[in-house]
Amino acid sequence: MAETLVIAKGLGRDFRDGNADRINVLRDVDCEIASGARIALVGPSGSGKTTLLHILGGLDRPTAGTVEWPGLGAFETLRPRQIGFVFQSPSLFPALTAVQNVGLPMLLAGENTRANDIGASLLQSFGLGELGDKLPEELSGGQAQRIAMARALAMAPKLVLADEPTGQLDSRTALRFFDAVLSRLEDTDIALVVATHDEVVANRMATRWTMDHGRLTTGHRPGAAAA
């Protein structure tokens, strides 16, 4: 039976804009992620996808509602061991090479000896082996996003949250890369949530969540099957 990794209930997130007006980015969002889930999070720009991913990944805190990680352990241990994250904007550490960036979560987790080998292996599996010694600023945006995905998988986490991982790739490369990711996750219990505008990518996922004006309008309610 699939293990419940994350449960969110009544999530809300407010921000203040430059004029000190309150903006409701998330409103009353309920959701649940089980192990092995393949979820596409779709919706127009500004609908709250990134904010929801940040809250589910423990990077941000909701202003309303609760989020729990029953299958991932204590909050302090979520990253880098339990959750891998791929950010929308370039997020590689500029002073480290591609392979060092991929191995960075392992180093932070104290697994120094395997970091380089696993980093190189992941890059190889995504067809990026020749980029291992490149610095982030020597890479294209698409290459950097693929390396960021490799980094998210380095610790073999239970949950991967990816924000527009193919946003900077052409559709053919995007599909090939995404298939490689899915292939890598095949036969694992790693749950994958991908925020995307790419319908082809979204269609590769078993579940589709749709965000609109901060509400999760379509999707699974707590207790429903996640995958």
Binding site: H54, F87, F93, N112, L135
Partner: protein
């Protein structure tokens, strides 16, 4: 509109960078303004002190037959005269006195008469030792020679006339005898003449009664002088201008009274000597001040360039959207204007505040206004160039893609490939060697010549050394950091722990930025270290100079008749006295030359005063004194005497000393054992040092005229105690080291360097802390995103801290090692090059440990503050990633 939007954006988003640049400009402006004020005030203070130390400004000698009234009239037309007095001199064949059944006679002497009110206008010319000032006065040495005191009769052996007898009313000291009896009209290069050994001072009427007949019979044996005090308030404040003013007035007077009078320009001579000090003050300004200004300018540029990556990215975006180079420069100019105007205003305000609170820096805006305006303009210029030059360079040369890069593979710059750093250091060594070979003669102000010169080539050595050390720091730091080797990991290991390999890898890719930080920190620490060491060494030498002049912390000056040594027991028992040692001060003839003779106990003299190795030629102080102690009839003589008399070590010298038993000079044999260049209380030219026991045995008197005393703490407090126990004996004079320091008018010690050095040391600390902390903080500020990424992917606070602290530690360690090394070498070079400032030259550098510890502590604290302020706050990684 776009201009205002840009300004608002700059202030809202880049306040720290703009504020950092403004702080750099403020430091530049404040330091430069303070230095300019110091220079102006140092000159004025030197002039005022020099003028106040001249007892008689001009001595105008009336040629026989000329009309004194006409000369007086010419005087008032030639110069701003405050007061004029007549002084009459008459040569006499000798003096004779009968006391205690014996007759004492002296050699030739002079009889002098001052007009009424002379002593109230020239009080420094005479000091009463006993009796009164009304009547016939006798000089102390003459009184000793004749064995007379108040109430005794002295016979004057007039030239070509019968002797005349006068009765002594008082015994006096003539502290300014050298000037009072100088030969007027000799060329400037002529050797100074010794004052007469025998002097009698008569009331004007008595003099005329006794010597008018001699004047008629032997006009060549009498003289009339007009002693002139000029209106000092009319003199320009700058010593060079004052010298020019006074010497021009003197020449004007000489032209007016040609053939009727000769002029001795004591004031001009004094100001001439001070000109050299004024030039040295300028040299000190250049040596000590300009590196600070250069550092502040470099700091400003470093601050603006610390945001180069972000600025280039913004410019690249503007260019992509079609902005022209002109438009980009205009926007940079708005940013520059905010920093430059703000920084200049803050700097000027800080300088004004310093002018109020710092000693020796009282701003006189009427005089210093144009200078301050120039300084303000310089500050604005620095601000605009610091922003506009990189903007222009990037807009003109960098491609949009290249411009957006923040980390790139290191390339070896051209200067490194050309080994420019090593070439500069070698060139510095060569220039230094050249200065050393000329005896470090940086300032030349020949006596009697209006023109002065400063050997500006001497500045090349430290300037090249500074630049070379900065580049060498960059080269070595870059090699260590970019190499990512064991040394780098060892340095950061204490703070990076298990992350050392990845942290060092990250640091190795940022070697360019880090080495600039290390170089700036090293330069600032070097500046602070060299300034502090120079200042401490200077102060230590100033104290030694004052001690040399005064003899010790406190010296009691007496005479053979009233020796201070008679009070030794009382003086030794004073609570503030750490030690008291008697010292004889006699006079001895070396051939026809009368010299001061100091009789000491070589084993004990060091208890009460410091004897530097520089005082003796060819051997150390300890070695020379040990030799003197072992040779009872040994004598140390001056280099001048060795030259004049062609003496060889071991030669026997027959000196003539007064024997207390018959008050006559008798030859005493001494053995020449060494050369003394300087000695406590001794004059600069020639003197003798011998064993007091031998002198006492050979002269029949063990009187010790002086007592040298070392204070437990405050010399002034000891001097007060000494004065209180000696009140009953006004003939004993008490002087402490503080008074001596004030009186050394011709030395730079007289310039109040306190203001300059306080400001310098203060600025040095601020700049050292700013260079390390500010540079680091700005670097962190520009790289908030990578740190937010680290936090977002799961780095714990301590792991983030490992990255931050490693960077801080690297800058701190590199900056301290290179800075202290460079500072120490620069200080050594400065002390050598500025040998002319020191008298005597220092034997070793004095290290201000406390200041260095405080400075390094503040640098470390600023680094710690930068690191702590840069740590991303927990739970905000997502927000920061959105914002950055």
């Amino acid at each position: 509109m776009m201009f205002l939007l840009w300004i608002r954006g700059v202030l809202a988003r880049r306040f720290l960078r703009v504020a950092g640049a403004a702080a750099g400009i403020a430091l530049t402006v404040a330091l430069l303004a303070a230095m300019a004020l110091f220079l102006a005030n140092a000159g004025a203070s030197m002039t005022a002190r020099a003028v106040s130390a001249v007892p008689i400004d001009w001595q105008v000698q009336v040629i026989s037959g000329a009309d004194p009234d006409l000369i007086g009239k010419a005087l008032t037309e030639a110069a701003p005269v405050k007061t004029v007095h007549q002084v009459r001199y008459a040569d006499v064949a000798g003096f004779e006195a009968r006391t205690g059944g014996t007759t004492q006679t002296t050699g030739p002497g002079q009889a002098v008469a001052f007009d009424s009110r002379y002593f109230s206008d020239f009080p420094a010319e005479i000091r009463s030792l006993s009796g009164t000032l009304d009547g016939v006065l006798i000089a102390q040495q003459t009184a000793a020679n004749l064995h007379v005191g108040p109430g005794d009769a002295v016979s004057i052996q007039r030239m070509g006339l019968p002797p005349a007898e006068v009765r002594i009313a008082g015994v006096v000291d003539l502290p300014d005898a050298d000037a009072l009896f100088q030969a007027v009209g000799l060329p400037p290069q002529a050797a100074p003449q010794a004052p007469p050994d025998n002097v009698l001072i008569l009331p004007q009427e008595a003099w005329r009664q006794l010597f008018d007949p001699q004047q008629k019979a032997r006009p060549d044996t009498t003289r009339l002088q007009l002693h002139v005090r000029l209106a000092h308030e009319a003199l320009p404040p700058d010593p060079v201008a004052a010298y020019t003013f006074v010497t021009a007035a003197q020449r004007n007077l000489e032209a007016r009274v040609a053939g009727q009078a000769l002029v001795a320009d004591n004031l001009g001579s004094r100001l001439g000597a001070v000109r050299e000090d004024a030039l040295y003050a300028s040299v000190l300004f250049l040596f000590l001040g300009l590196p600070g200004v250069a550092l502040a300018v470099a700091l400003t540029f470093a601050v603006t360039s610390s945001g180069a990556a972000r600025r280039r990215t913004e410019q690249a975006l503007l260019r992509v959207r079609g902005a022209t180079t002109k438009a980009i420069l205009f926007l940079s100019a708005t940013e520059a204007a905010v920093a430059a105007i703000g920084g200049t205003a803050i700097g000027m305000a800080a300088a004004s505040l310093l002018a109020i609170i710092a000693p020796g820096l009282k701003a006189t805006l009427g005089v210093d206004g144009p200078t301050l305006l120039l300084v303000a303009f310089f500050g604005l210029l620095v601000g605009f160039i610091a922003f506009l030059y990189p903007a222009w360079r990037d807009a003109r040369w960098a491609t949009v893609t290249a411009a957006r890069r923040t980390v790139s593979r290191p390339k070896t710059p051209l200067w490194q490939r050309l080994w420019l750093d090593c070439l500069l250091l070698a060139a510095a060594g060569l220039f230094f060697w050249q200065s050393a070979s000329t005896g470090y003669q940086i300032v030349l102000a020949p006596e009697g010549v209006a023109a002065t010169s400063v050997d500006y080539k001497a500045f090349i050595a430290p300037a090249l050394f500074w630049l070379g050390m900065a580049l060498l720091t960059i080269r070595l730091s870059a090699t260590i950091i970019a190499g990512n080797g064991a040394l780098l990991r060892m340095i950061i290991a204490p703070v990076s722990g298990p992350l050392a390999p990845i942290v060092s890898a990250a640091l190795s890719r940022q070697s360019g930025r880090l080495t600039i930080g290390i170089a700036m920190t090293a330069l600032a620490i070097s500046f602070a270290t060299s300034t502090a060491i120079f200042n401490t060494t200077y102060n230590a030498q100033a104290r030694i100079d004052a001690e040399l002049t005064n003899g010790s912390d406190v010296t009691v000056f007496g005479s053979t008749d009233r020796p201070a040594g008679a009070r030794l027991a009382a003086l030794t028992s004073l609570p503030e006295a750490a030690a008291a040692e008697p010292m004889q001060h006699r006079f001895a003839y070396v051939g026809a030359d009368l010299q001061d003779l100091y009789g000491i106990d070589p084993d004990r003299i060091g208890h009460a005063t410091s004897l530097s190795d520089a005082y003796f030629s060819g051997a150390s102080a300890a070695g020379t004194l040990a030799l003197l102690a072992a040779t009872s009839d040994g004598v140390l003589v001056s280099e001048e005497t060795v030259q004049d008399f062609q003496l060889q070590q071991g030669d026997t010298i027959n000196l003539r000393l007064i024997d207390a038993r018959d008050h006559q000079y008798h030859p005493v044999a001494f053995k020449f054992i060494g050369v003394a260049r300087e000695f406590p209380t001794a004059p600069k030219d020639s003197f003798l040092v011998a064993n007091s026991a031998y002198v006492a045995r050979m002269t029949g008197s063990d009187a010790s005229e002086y007592v040298l005393m070392r204070a437990r703490a405050d010399p002034a407090a000891l001097a007060r105690q000494v004065s209180s126990v000696l009140t009953f004996d006004p003939s004993l004079k008490v002087s402490d080291i503080g008074q001596a320091a004030h009186l050394i008018g011709s030395s730079l010690t007289a310039v109040d360097l306190g203001g300059l050095t306080t400001i310098e040391l203060g600025f040095a600390v601020v700049m050292a802390a700013a260079a390390a902390g500010l540079m680091l903080a700005l670097g962190f500020f520009e790289r908030r995103r990578p740190f937010a990424i680290l936090a977002a992917i799961g780095a714990k606070p301590r792991q983030l801290a490992a990255f931050l602290w490693s960077e801080g530690l690297l800058i701190l360690v590199g900056g301290m090692i290179f800075g202290l090394l460079s500072g120490l070498l620069t200080a050594w070079m400065l002390v050598k090059l500025l040998t002319g400032v020191f008298d005597p030259p220092p034997e070793a550098l004095s290290i201000p440990w406390l200041y260095l510890a405080v400075m390094l502590g503040l640098v470390a604290a600023s680094v710690a503050a930068a690191v702590l302020s840069a740590r991303p706050s927990a739970g905000q990684a997502a927000e920061q990633l959105r914002d950055l």
